[in-house]
Symmetry: D2
Amino acid sequence: MNSFGRIFRLHIFGESHGTHVGICLDGVPPGIYLTQTDFDADIERRKPQAVGTTKRKEKDVPIILSGVFNNYTTGAPLTIVFTNEQHNASDYHNMTYHYRPGHSDFTTHVKYKGYNDFRGGGHFSGRLTLPIVAAGVVAKKIIKPIEISAKITSIGGTTTDFEDIIQSVVNENDSIGGIVQCVVSNVPVGLGEPFFDSLESLLAHAMFSIPGIKGIEFGSGFKLATMKGSEANDCFINEQGKTKTNHSGGIIGGISSGNDITFSVVVKPPSSIGKTQFSYHWATKKIEALTITGRHDACIALRVPIVVEALTACVLADCMLIQKSCG
Amino acid sequence: MNSFGRIFRLHIFGESHGTHVGICLDGVPPGIYLTQTDFDADIERRKPQAVGTTKRKEKDVPIILSGVFNNYTTGAPLTIVFTNEQHNASDYHNMTYHYRPGHSDFTTHVKYKGYNDFRGGGHFSGRLTLPIVAAGVVAKKIIKPIEISAKITSIGGTTTDFEDIIQSVVNENDSIGGIVQCVVSNVPVGLGEPFFDSLESLLAHAMFSIPGIKGIEFGSGFKLATMKGSEANDCFINEQGKTKTNHSGGIIGGISSGNDITFSVVVKPPSSIGKTQFSYHWATKKIEALTITGRHDACIALRVPIVVEALTACVLADCMLIQKSCG
Amino acid sequence: MNSFGRIFRLHIFGESHGTHVGICLDGVPPGIYLTQTDFDADIERRKPQAVGTTKRKEKDVPIILSGVFNNYTTGAPLTIVFTNEQHNASDYHNMTYHYRPGHSDFTTHVKYKGYNDFRGGGHFSGRLTLPIVAAGVVAKKIIKPIEISAKITSIGGTTTDFEDIIQSVVNENDSIGGIVQCVVSNVPVGLGEPFFDSLESLLAHAMFSIPGIKGIEFGSGFKLATMKGSEANDCFINEQGKTKTNHSGGIIGGISSGNDITFSVVVKPPSSIGKTQFSYHWATKKIEALTITGRHDACIALRVPIVVEALTACVLADCMLIQKSCG
Amino acid sequence: MNSFGRIFRLHIFGESHGTHVGICLDGVPPGIYLTQTDFDADIERRKPQAVGTTKRKEKDVPIILSGVFNNYTTGAPLTIVFTNEQHNASDYHNMTYHYRPGHSDFTTHVKYKGYNDFRGGGHFSGRLTLPIVAAGVVAKKIIKPIEISAKITSIGGTTTDFEDIIQSVVNENDSIGGIVQCVVSNVPVGLGEPFFDSLESLLAHAMFSIPGIKGIEFGSGFKLATMKGSEANDCFINEQGKTKTNHSGGIIGGISSGNDITFSVVVKPPSSIGKTQFSYHWATKKIEALTITGRHDACIALRVPIVVEALTACVLADCMLIQKSCG
C-alpha cells in the first residue's frame, strides 16, 4: 500500500515523469508552526550535489495544498506536492522489451499488466523520496527534542575518502553501493508496540520502502551472530536505564531503552549504468547487449541519509503519538 | 500493535506464564482442509530438542476455538490456542528491581508502568512464537505451491559443526548468537505493494517481531555495499524473468521477480545467562552482581528457522490475497 | 473484517455452535483494575429473561486467557472467551437446501461457498454479542466518567406496555421488531475524527454489526427532514457549549459537542419464526412451506440495549485514546 | 481519520477556503480507462443549480496529479485535486467568538485548539464532497455492471413539488431538510464482511461522513420496528435468491443478497441561515443575536444524491476487491 503509519500517517503519490510527486500527511497534531522555509535545509541535503549524483536538476519547491493556516498546522490533512519540471522521457523508449537488469521495469510491467508509468521508474523512482523528506520535516517538529543524524559510513567497502572510488566508477560508467548509519539521541524509554510493531519492525518497514535498500541491522547487528550473551548484553549503569555498551542499538524487547537508537542500512549500487550489460530481450527472445543512457546517480547512497532521517522521524512521531494515547 | 497483515491478518495474544498463548487469524479463505495433525510437524520442529535449548517441556497441542467446521476452514476467524502447562514463576522473583541486561524487563516495566506480566518475559516471551508457527501452517496451505525453507547457516561465527561451540557456551553458562537463512521457491512474479509495502518491508516487519532478531539482509545484502552495479545487477536470461545471478534476493523494486526469495536474519545470543553479570540495581541504587537461574535457551537461533518460515508464509499469503484482489 | 477500532481494537471470533465465542482486545491501557465479577452485571443484562426471549440457557462465564495480571490489565492483548455449552445442532438439518427467509443462511452459503458453519447462524449468530458485551465492560472502565444508558423505547409500534404485544406474537409463533435508544452523558467536547471517522460514522459502523439492526438516527434523526434550520439549530447557552435543544444528538460536524449523545436504532423482527412461511427450496426447485423449529427470540430487541451500550463504550474508548494522542 | 476503505482507499484533504481540495485514491486496479471528461457528468450534478443552492460558483475542473498514464490507471495512487477559486473569507470574521448554532465552529475550535481553518467550515465544509464525487467516478468504473441511483424523496416532509417549499424557506432566510434514497441494482451476492464490516456498517460509515447526514435506514428501516417476522421476512422465489419483497434492502446478515440494495438518509437543514438566531457569545459571555451572511445552500439535500452515489460506489468497489481476494 502507499500508506504508512497508524496515527501519524503518510500517503504518498506521484511518478518520476508525471506532473507531480506529493504526500498527504494525516494525524498531524494542530498548532505546529510550519512555513515553506522550514523545508529548505532538508530538501537541499537531498539534492544531487557531489560527483556521482544525477545531473537532473529540479527546483523542488514544496507547495502546501492543505492543512496549514496562518503558518500553523490545523490538525487537518497536510498535503505537500512538488512539480516535476525536467522530464526527459525520450531516454526511456526501449525498456518495454529490454528490461533493465536490477531495475523494477520487469516486475512492475508484470504486476501492473503493462499499465504502469515506466518512464524513469514511474512510481518506483527515487524521486518519490522527495515528498518523504518533506514529511520528515514535519515529523522532526513533532518529536522534539529527539535528534536524528544519518551519514554515509562506507562506499564500495571504503570507510574513508569516498571521492576517488566514486570518480572511478563514474569513469567506468558503472555504479557503487554503500552503507548509511543512523543515530537517534534523546529518545524517551517506551516507544514501540510489540508484538508486531516492535521499533525494529517499524523502522525496518520504513527503510525498505526506500528504493535500493537491501539490508538493515540494529546496534551490533550481524556481529551479534558471533557474540556470546555475556559480551552482547548491555549492562545497566544508572537509574535512567543507560547502558555501558549499546549492542542492542537502543532497542530492547522491541521498545526504546532511552539509549541512542543506532542502525545501518545497505544501499545497493544503482541498477542504471552506462556500461554495457547482456540481458534477455523480450522481443527478439535472445540475450542482447543493453546500454542505458540518461541521467543517473552512480552512488545513490550519497543521497540516502536525509531520507533515512526523514522516515526515522516519521516512525518515531507515530510511536510517540501512540504512546501518548496509551500512556 | 498485536496485529499484522492486511487481508490475511494475525492477532496474537498470551503470556509466557499466563494460562494460554494463542492467535486469531482473520481473512482465511474458506474451504482449506485443516486438521489438528496438520500442525504436528511444524510444532515439533519448534520444540527444544538439541543441546543449547531450554528444558521447559510443553505438550504444545493446538486447540482450534473457531473457524473450522467439518475439517475445513469456514472463512470466519480461525482462533488457535495453546495451554501453558509448565509455569515456574518462582524463578522470577527479583527482576522487578534488578532488571536483566539485554532483556525486556526494564523497557516493558517503564512502558507499561509496572503492570506488565513480567514472568518469563510475559507477552514478550519466545513462547509467543508458538502460535505464530501455527499461523504459518495455515498460511503455507494458502500459498501452495510456494515452498519455504529456513535453516541455520552459522552459530557463533562457525558455519559448520555447531555442536561444539554450543556445548562450550552451555558449559560456561553463557549463550551464543547465530544466523538463519530463508529460501523461498516457486514464487510468482508480482507480490509486494510498493511504495510502503515492498516485499522487503513486509518480510522485515514480520521478522523483527521475532524476539532476538537484530538484522536482516536480502540477496547479497550488506555485501552490496562493496559491489558495482555491473556486478550486482541480475541479468535476465529467459522470458519468465529468471536471472543469471540473484544478488537482489528475488525482489526487485519491492516486488517478487519470480526468482527465489532469499534473506538472512541474525539472532542475538539470548540475554538470560547463568554467568554472573554486573548491572544497576534499582533498589540498592548500585551496580550489583546478577546471576540468572531458570530454564533458558543457550542458542535461541536453533529454534528460529521454523518461526521464520511461518512468518514468511504469512506475509506471502497476505500478498497473494492482495494481488488476487487487484490482479 | 472481524476487527474494529484504531487504538482500542476488537477482534471477534467464534460460532453459535462451535466450542467457544470470544474476543481479543488490543490497545487496552495498562493498569485498569479488572476481575471476573466486573462482567457479571452486563452479562446478566444480556441473558434471555423475559417472555419473548430464547430458552437457550448458557452460563456465560468469561474466561480471561491473557492480558490481566494480578487483577490489572497489563497493556498486552486481553482475550476473553466463553464456552458454548448448549448445542442443539439437530434443529438445523434442512437449511442447506431450504434457506430461511430473512436469515443469513443463503448469503453466507454463497459467500463462503458452502464451507461456513451454518449451525445456529454460525459466526453470524447473536451469540457473538456476548463477547462484545464483555468488551464493553472493559471499555466502560476506560471512558469513565462517561455514562451510557440504552433502553427499549418501542416494540411493534407500542411505546408502553410491551408485554402484551410480545406475548401475542409468541402465541402466533411469530416475532416482532423494536427500537432501542441510547443516551450518553458526561461526554467531553472533541471526540470524533472527521472527515471519514465522524462520531456518527463510527457509532453507526459499530451498531450495524449487531445482527438485526437496520437503521440508526442521531438526535432528531429523520424528523430533521421536516424541520427548518431555525428550528433544528441547537443554540448555545453557556461557555461549555451546552445547547438549549439537542436536535443534533450531541454531535456537530462529526465531533462530540459536550451535550448528551443520543441515537436510536431499529431492530428488525427475528427471522426465525415458528409460523409457516413459503420460500424457494433449492433442492426441489419449488416454493415450499417452511416451518422453523428450535429455540429463538421472538423479540431480539429486548436483548439489544446492553449490546448497544457495549459498542458505544468501545467507540468512545477508541476516540478518547485517539484524542489523547493528538490533543 | 481522513482515510476510508481497505483495498480501495480514499485519502481526502483540503479546506473550503484553502487553495485546493483533493483526494488520493489507493488500490485502484491498473488498466481502467479514465480521462478528464469522465468526471464531467457527475461533477455537473453536484453543482448548485436550483433555487435553494449556494451562489458560490466554481469551475470544478479535476486535475489528475498522478496514477494515470496514457489515459489508463496505472495501479499507482490516483490523486485528483480541484482549485478553490472563489474565496470570500471576509464573511467569516466574527465566528471565533460567536459560534454559529448547529455548525462545526465550536466543536472544531475546541478539538483543534483554535488552529483549525475556520473559514467556510474549513476541512468540514461541504466542498470536500467534490473530491468524493471524483472518487465515485473511478469507483463506478470498477463496479460495473452495478448501477447506483440516488434521488431526493422528500423535502420538508413533502414528497412532491419541492420547489414551493424551498422558495418559501429562501424567502424567510431559513433552510430546510430532506431525505435522499439510494437504489443499487445488478449487485452480486456476497459483498460485505461481517462481523464488523457488514455492508450496512460500511455504507453507514461512509454516509455519515457527508456533512449534514443524521440518519440512515436500510430497506424498510424504522418501519421494521412495527412489523412482525412473518411480514418482514423476504421469502425467496428463485434459485438466484430473488425475494418477493425487499424489506431487508438487499442485505441479509450484513451481506448483499443479490436483490436491490436500498437505503435512505436524512439530510438536516443547513445550519447557516440568514434568519436571526440567539446564541451564546464567548466574548461578551451573553446570549446575543446572530445573523449569518454569506453564500449558503438553503437545502443542501438537493446536492447530496450524487455524493451518496459516489460513496456507495466506493464502498462497493472496496467490497468487490476484497471479495475477489478471498473468493
